[in-house]
């Protein structure tokens, strides 16, 4: 049985069994300082390999779940699913003409274009770079005057400039001679 001397009252006390086993283990693992200084305190807890692996595995699981949640979030509808807005009458727009309208509410705008050979297309009237309004140039291209971004009016794809994403497409429907904007479709 090991004994220690309490420096405060200089009484000889008997070590608890757990500490004694720790001391023996330490001395066998060549940690001489523990046998020379056999006092136990909370900060003396060692981090085991098992606890490290458990911690790393838990972190791995959390990161896996987070990535999965982000993937699920991307498939959720970002706004109101269907919100029909009357845009124009059929035949109102001449070829290569455009019309800006509010969609889906008064705070957002979209642009309807009558493209030669393709017909009516509509996009969100907001550059995907820094949200400036884009303008139809009449040559099959949409132009963002803020940073010289160019989009293909037929597909909404980026042709030039800083934007990296295509313009969101607005799905159209025709009913009783009226063109309706139905919903936004992210490309």
């Amino acid at each position: 049985m090991l004994q220690e001397v309490d420096p405060r009252n200089e009484q000889v006390t008997v070590l608890p069994p757990r500490l004694e086993s720790d001391v023996q283990e330490a001395s066998t693992s060549s940690e001489q300082w523990r046998s020379e200084f056999p006092h136990r305190w909370d900060e003396d807890e060692m981090v085991t390999r098992r606890s490290t692996l458990r911690f790393l595995l838990a972190g791995s699981g959390v990161l896996c779940l987070t990535t999965g949640v982000l993937a699920v979030l991307s498939y959720l509808p970002s706004g109101p699913g269907v919100q029909t807005v009357a845009v124009a009458k059929v035949g109102e727009l001449a070829e290569n003409a455009s019309k800006v309208f509010d969609f889906p509410d008064q705070y957002s705008r979209a642009i309807l274009i009558n493209l030669p050979g393709k017909g009516l297309v509509a996009y969100r009237d907001e550059c995907t770079h820094l949200s400036c309004a884009v303008l139809y140039q009449g040559n099959g291209k949409l132009h963002c005057p803020c940073h010289e971004g160019l989009f293909d009016a037929a597909t909404g794809a980026v042709l030039a400039g800083p934007p990296t994403r295509p313009l969101p497409l607005i799905q159209l429907a025709v009913h009783n001679g009226t063109i309706y904007a139905v919903k936004e479709v992210t490309q």
Binding site: R50, L53, S60, G61, T66, T67, L70, T164
Partner: protein, 65 residues
């Protein structure tokens, strides 16, 4: 490097890879590259499986002994 430390090293590498994946997933979500997100989630799930394969047999051996 001891074999037990080698397991910790492997799981730590997997964790770093998953951090990179989740950062890319966040960027993809914010920039609208939605098609990429499924692949990133799949890669993260595979990484977690790899981490489990590395760790769980060790725990079983320790319990058995």
């Amino acid at each position: 490097m001891k074999s037990k430390e080698y397991q910790i090293f492997l799981v730590a590498i997997v964790l770093v890879a998953q951090l990179w994946l989740v950062t890319n997933a966040r960027t993809a979500l914010l920039t609208g590259h939605i098609a990429l997100l499924g692949w990133l989630a799949l890669a993260s799930a595979l990484s977690f499986i790899v981490a489990c394969v590395v760790v769980v047999p060790r725990w079983r051996r320790m319990r058995a002994s």
